[in-house]
């Protein structure tokens, strides 16, 4: 896997890196799900009216939907 000469010292270095990384992650400030999930739900609710795929918009304003208009001459 790594240079054969220093394989044992490599694993020490790798283990040290792992411990450093874990220390960084452990020091992170975390929030309870009840709080952060509430924010996610709030975002959804706030933006639901501006979501065309969710609410569906009229064919006339959606360029992809075919316009069903009949012109009587």
């Amino acid at each position: 896997m790594s240079g054969k000469m220093c394989s044992s010292s490599n694993s020490v270095i790798q283990a040290q890196k792992l411990v450093d990384q874990l220390r960084v992650e452990a020091s992170m400030e975390r929030f309870k799900i009840s709080l952060s999930a509430a924010d996610l739900v709030k975002y959804c609710q706030d933006h639901r009216r501006s979501d065309p795929l969710l609410t569906g918009i009229a064919a006339s304003s959606n360029p992809f939907k075919d316009k069903k208009s009949c012109v009587l001459l």
């Binding site: 790594s2 240079g3 990384q21 874990l22 960084v24 009840s34 739900v41 969710l54 992809f64």
Partner: protein
């Protein structure tokens, strides 16, 4: 996966004893060690004798891992769908195929929308990159890349260029010109150089910076103008298959997912891995940020899509069904974040209710695996690319 370790000889101050001497440069996957040969031997011998150090480090990493798990478990006071109980149930979604874009000669592997909400770029296994006008089905530009399997393509924020890359281990930027007779392939510029295939690419907030992910296990940030590597991100222990930039204007983080089943969140300026999530049982094929930037979703070969909350630092929802046994290859959120569109290897696109965790709809139509789904910038349509050589626009 390719072996990243090799030795080269240079001259300079040793990292350990600071004496100027010929150095052995050893790159150990994540870091470069420049020691003189004497210090190198000392390190090797010490390594053998310090078997205890290795053991104590392992012990410390195990305790830290356990502590992390406990911290994360403490926050699990309620499930996402419980918080979302009061939210009204989704009605029937009137989404169907509105356009079928035919023209690729082989599997379509990737696509991206332009910010003008009507153009899109797609790339395929036959080496072709095509820019389409989705309203008229017109093919505006076509470039043939010298390699097959163009696995990644992205539209520049200005709409004036596209980036693409794949098995050639490079990511190239092609400026789009209004002159249809101009040979675009001649103006192609190689920006990113990896040591393995390029699996994903995206422009950052400007046309001048490109972020790429690669099968060599790293992600990298490049300056398009000079081709210079601005920052590299090491930490994945296997191929990185996907990346996504955080949505905010000021944000400078991105998330990546790979074959090591991990999804990592990175700080673009420092190159530091800020958070790591490991709950999938198989390769993560795609990652995508929630529109608010506080969460992201991932699609995996284990047939599930999962939703991770960045502030709670844990998974908060799993989107799965016993009847879904094929891997999920791609995900994208609708504009409000309520819907999660996920493409699977069973040729279908499942639409999940993000908050309640249930499936809202299933879109049929493609005749082979879905490789990519993307919602248009104004949220009016969904584009899907598949191995049946076509792209479909759903609205």
């Amino acid at each position: 996966m390719c072996d990243q370790t090799f030795m080269a000889a240079t001259f300079g101050p040793c990292d350990n004893c600071s004496k100027a001497s010929p150095l052995m440069n050893i790159y150990i996957k994540t870091e470069a060690i420049n020691y003189c040969s004497f210090c190198m031997e000392m390190m090797a011998c010490q390594g053998l004798q310090k078997g205890e150090t290795l053991v104590s480090l392992k012990r410390e990493s195990d305790t830290l891992k356990k502590k992390l798990e406990e911290e994360r478990a403490k926050l699990n006071d309620v499930e996402l769908h419980q918080v979302a109980e009061k939210v009204e149930v989704l009605g029937a979604l009137p989404i169907k195929t509105r356009r079928v874009l035919k023209g690729h000669g082989n599997k379509v592997l990737c696509m991206d929308w332009c910010k003008d909400k009507r153009r899109l770029v797609s790339s395929s296994q036959d080496g072709k990159v095509i820019v389409w006008d989705a309203f008229t089905l017109n093919k505006e530009h076509g470039v043939t890349m010298p390699c097959t399997w163009v696995m990644a393509c992205a539209y520049a924020p200005s709409g004036c260029a596209v980036a693409c890359g794949g098995l050639d281990n490079k990511c190239s930027v092609i400026p789009l010109s209004l002159d249809r007779n101009e040979n675009l392939a001649a103006k192609k510029k190689s920006v990113a150089m990896h040591t393995n295939y390029v699996s994903g690419c995206t422009f950052t907030n400007s046309d001048n910076q490109l972020l790429t992910s690669s099968g060599d296990g790293s992600c990298a940030l490049w300056d398009v103008e000079s081709g210079q590597l601005l920052q590299s991100f090491h930490g994945h222990t296997a191929d990185v298959l996907s990346l996504d930039l955080a949505p905010s204007e000021t944000g400078n983080t991105f998330v990546s997912g790979g074959c090591d089943k991990k999804a990592n969140v990175w700080d673009m300026r420092s190159g530091q891995n800020i958070q790591s999530f490991e709950s999938h049982d198989s390769d993560i094929n795609c990652v995508k940020y929630y529109p608010s930037g506080d969460a992201f979703a991932s699609a995996s070969d284990d047939a599930t899509c999962r939703f991770f909350d960045l502030r709670a630092d844990r998974e908060v929802a799993v989107y799965q069904k016993d009847s879904i046994i094929f891997g999920a290859t791609t995900v994208d959120f609708s504009l409000s974040g309520r819907l999660l569109f996920a493409g699977y290897n069973d040729y279908t696109i499942n639409v999940w209710d993000v908050l309640k965790g249930t499936r809202a709809s299933c879109l049929f139509g493609h005749e082979n695996r879905i490789s990519r789904v993307r919602v248009s910038p104004d949220g009016t349509a969904l584009c899907s690319a598949a191995w049946d050589n076509t792209l479909r626009i759903w609205a």
